[in-house]
Symmetry: C2
Subunit: 421 residues, 2 copies
């Protein structure tokens, strides 16, 4: 095929007949490009006959030429000279694949595979793929090694209540709620690692920001001087992802009607104590030591946006509100959360690398030393100071795409009710 | 620091004192580079004192200069002017991190984090990371979209016996034994996808080639004309990975003492019937319809190597030996396995995309239509012809590195006995 010629393999999203001309809107399955296929009765009577009897939703291949040779954003016009019907729907379409009649989220989730023919839906998942690509580029440029840690574990990082349990050849095992313990153990041999992998939480959430199965971006780095080293890596990662997406996701963001704003660097840093003061000044009284609820997160986010910060760190949380592995600093901790306009995207900090202190931390949290023996052992052989973070991939994609429900950016979400499809 | 200056953050693998000169072998945690740090008593008495009392396994930072300015393959010599002790072992080292005294595999698996300081061990995992990078580059160049499908599922692809079961808010759920059903459902909206993710099999294996948790490379493509379209993509992927690793993994393969041979393209294609004949001629009689055992795989592999083929496809397996979703061709199937020197690396084929035939296939295999309702539904809305493959990442890395036990290339392997660390 010469330039100006095209082969489309995709699905018929709509059919319009105007006099003796048929217009088929066809979504290509590979390029994610939408075409308007034009067939004139007098030019191709046999194609006209096939086209005008075509069921919406059919899988077809089309060969044709692009008269102007121009590439427009969507609905690129093609004069067909070949049309092939590969597969027809055998039931009514559950939703309008052209997207002109909007579908309910529940319908989309029930028929995700069909919904993916809607340009907006495709854009969300194309952006998701670009995000993981951007994350990997970034880590590679800093010399972080990609690793794979186990998802079936003998113990959980944060206690038993939030773990899915399974029978493992007669022993009790758990699904990983994060790679936390493993990425720390690896700090005894590799000093910069990352993993992008699924994690599982058995909490009976019912919110638009939580799922029971999610994908996370986990990084850990050794030989740090303090949590600020980790925060800088995370901050640069976020900015890199925004910049990369702005450059490579133009078509997708224009489909979503979004003009992506790269957050300003350095992100604002507020201590937990400063956050409490800001909240107090806005009528929210939090007792010291309490975690921020979603209302408080929202209000703090508004105050940050007023100051010109979309993204900000909340540092030095009370130690008792943080997991055992975080380094203690009297009553506070070497921890941070990264929030974006009131939504927590990541959390991390410097970890306790000194064996004796770590055992003390476990005891303080009322956890069993015996259960964590396999993990503690790694701290006996020259464990360097280290820290890291866990960043929610699903939430990061939510943030970039502006969707209101995390389920929109996950192909087959898992929540309390949803185990199928 | 100018050129010729270096900052090392890593672990002391060995200490040697020759007269008034101390030699510390230090493995950098990030660059995976090994250094010989030289300290002379009369030049730096305080560093000498620290170095000569250093415990093997300690985490240190070193600043120094490289006298020659030359970069050698390992043990690059550094004259230290600063040495900092960050963390000392509090127990005997469980293995020799210099690798000079070899450790048993069981010891390595028990203390993987320490074993990673051995140059050979690091090389294995650096190669693993390069493999996934190569795989992604390849799929990106062909326009395959990266997706994430659920690992907690309401049904398994290949029946119940090999599934890990868990309680999902009062319902029975299973861990994904592959993304098979989900990647097929997606063929109704995207036409080229891939996923690299963990999968889980509850089979009580005890072999050097099987684990209960593995990582897989799964791809699926629509609008194909036959299984040969999929085989070509897989064949090119394997060759790309070998070529990429040959170019980017020089240091690692030289550490392993391997001169990587890129397999010749096109890979040999033998039908199942031809394979039986080859086996018969070598004294192995397999009844038609039986799967090949590991002995037969080995013998067939030897015969292929004699013909000059490391990698080869076995096509057209008896349909009754293949899963329900493979397209049937009378008593045979549109399937293929990819073997490398007698080890199965991948399997795939064209899938059945026609609703009625698929229901028939399920019935033929004695599977419940009701359990697969959520999957069957996707075949009602214009499912195009499609096919794909699942390629074992762990086995691919085994093949490249020549290790004899799959556990060597998995950081924290999961087998019948091993749930910790």
């Amino acid at each position: 095929m010469g330039s100006g010629e095209v082969k489309i393999s995709g699905w018929v999203n709509s059919l319009r007949i105007v006099g003796a001309v048929a217009f088929l809107e066809v979504m290509d399955g590979g390029s994610l490009q939408l075409y308007t296929v034009v067939i004139k009765r007098h030019e191709h009577p046999e194609l006209w006959n096939l086209a005008t009897h075509m069921k919406i939703g059919s899988a077809v291949t089309v060969k044709g030429s692009i008269p102007s040779g121009q590439i427009s954003k969507r609905g690129l016009e093609v004069r067909a000279y070949a049309l092939n019907l590969l597969s027809e729907p055998i039931d009514f379409m559950p939703l309008d694949p052209s997207g002109k009649t909007p579908a309910l989220l529940d319908t989309i989730l029930e028929h995700r595979y069909v919904a993916l023919r809607i340009p907006r839906q495709r854009a969300l998942f194309a952006i998701r793929a670009l995000v993981v690509e951007a994350v990997r580029n970034y880590f590679k440029s800093l010399g972080f090694l990609e690793v794979h840690t186990p998802k079936i574990c003998g113990a959980g990082a944060e206690g038993g209540a939030t773990l899915f349990q399974l029978d493992y050849f007669g022993r009790v095992a758990y699904l990983a709620q994060s790679p936390q313990l493993y990425k720390q153990m690896l700090m005894c041999g590799f000093s910069r690692i990352y993993e992008i992998s699924p994690y599982f939480r058995a909490e009976p959430f019912s919110t638009v920001r939580h799922l029971n199965e999610s994908w996370g971006i986990d990084a850990e780095m050794a030989f740090i001087e303090g949590p600020q080293d980790v925060m800088r890596v995370l901050e640069d990662l976020i900015v890199h992802v925004f910049e990369y997406l702005k450059a490579k996701g133009q078509r997708e963001f224009s489909e979503l009607g979004i003009n992506l704003q790269v957050p300003r660097k350095p992100f604002k840093r507020v201590t937990y104590n400063e956050a409490l003061e800001i909240l107090r000044s806005r009528g929210y009284n939090i007792e010291w030591g309490q975690d921020l609820g979603s209302d408080e997160e929202r209000v703090l986010g508004e105050s940050m946006v007023e100051e010109g910060y979309d993204a900000y760190f909340i540092t030095e949380y009370p130690w008792h509100a943080k997991p055992f592995y975080i380094m203690r600093k009297k009553e506070e901790s070497e921890s941070f959360d990264l929030d974006y306009r009131g939504m927590e995207l990541a959390s991390g900090g410097q970890r306790e690398h000194r064996y004796d202190k770590l055992v003390e931390n476990l005891r303080d949290k009322g956890l069993s030393i015996e259960n964590f023996e396999f993990y503690l052992k790694a701290f006996k052989y020259g464990m360097p100071p280290h820290g890291g973070f866990g960043l929610g991939l699903d939430r990061l994609v939510m943030t970039l795409t502006g969707v209101q429900n995390i389920r929109e950016v996950v192909l087959f979400p898992r929540d309390r009710q949803r185990l199928l499809p």
